[in-house]
Amino acid sequence: MSFQVEITPENKVYGKTPLLTDNVMHYCPGCSHGTIHKLVAEVIEEMGLQDKTIGVSPVGCSVFAYNYIHIDWIQAAHGRACAVATAAKRLTPEKMVFTYQGDGDLSAIGTAESIHACNRGENIVVIYVNNAIYGMTGGQMAPTTLLGMKTATSPAGREAAIHGYPYKIAEIVSMLDGVCYVTRQSVQSPAAARKAKKALRQAFENAMAGKGLSFVEMVSSCNSGWKQSPVDANKWMEENMFPFYKLGDIKVATEPKEA
């Protein structure tokens, strides 16, 4: 005999975490930012760190991240999130401090602040959302834009001779002694999102244990900037971004950094 599943709290297996506010996110339909916000909120909730966490939001589409997760936030000037997070963590070392930054924010205008925070080994987490484009300002080319990729400022496709090569800042910071963990993840499929959440958890644990800086790259889609449907953009990302931005752990330090 067939039965109807009852909508009761006992039968609930998954739903919105109370750490997410009830605000409707301003992101475009299907944008990876929303999924990543949710995973961050879930990890903070599961670790019981709501009252201890300070997020630093960037300039970029995720500038309004503070509207969506019920924790303390600071909104940094463009590219300066790692510098602001350094101050927050040093002044309140008992707090869990993370930055949330796009590829334009972290690896263009904020390269210096980001690399030096990594090199100093600040006990923070950097969440780096790489959608290979400046989403917020209308889809201009970023340092991370793939060769051949069309954007508002590279309408014929990115060309190395004119625009230089796309670069992998995760690999670059993995060479620095202050960095204990570098991983590249994505959230377009259920399996990928579950793995990405584990990586965030690992990074947050590292920061609370004072192991140095953890860098979590999220290869993401910007379907509006890429001018594709959300589902097509995710597919395009799998086919074109993943061969260049390879997923997986890049550095897992076994020895704690020397004091």
Binding site: F3, K12, T17, K38, S229
Partner: protein
Amino acid sequence: MAKIKGTVTVDVEKCKGCGVCVVACPTDVLALSKEVNGKGYPFAMQANPDACTGCANCAVVCPDSCLTVYRQRDPNA
């Protein structure tokens, strides 16, 4: 009949109709509606509710956290 079944509720006004949940569902439960919500978006709905196993794959990839998943053992089994 399956011993364990699932079901999904949708926050219709929050859904932006991106369709990421539709392709994430391994049993083709979900589809986008023909009607639109207050913001003009089609929204996720169970087109084939009997196939739901309550795996939560759809909700895990939902960028706007509009899906809630329930799962129950068949009381008659």
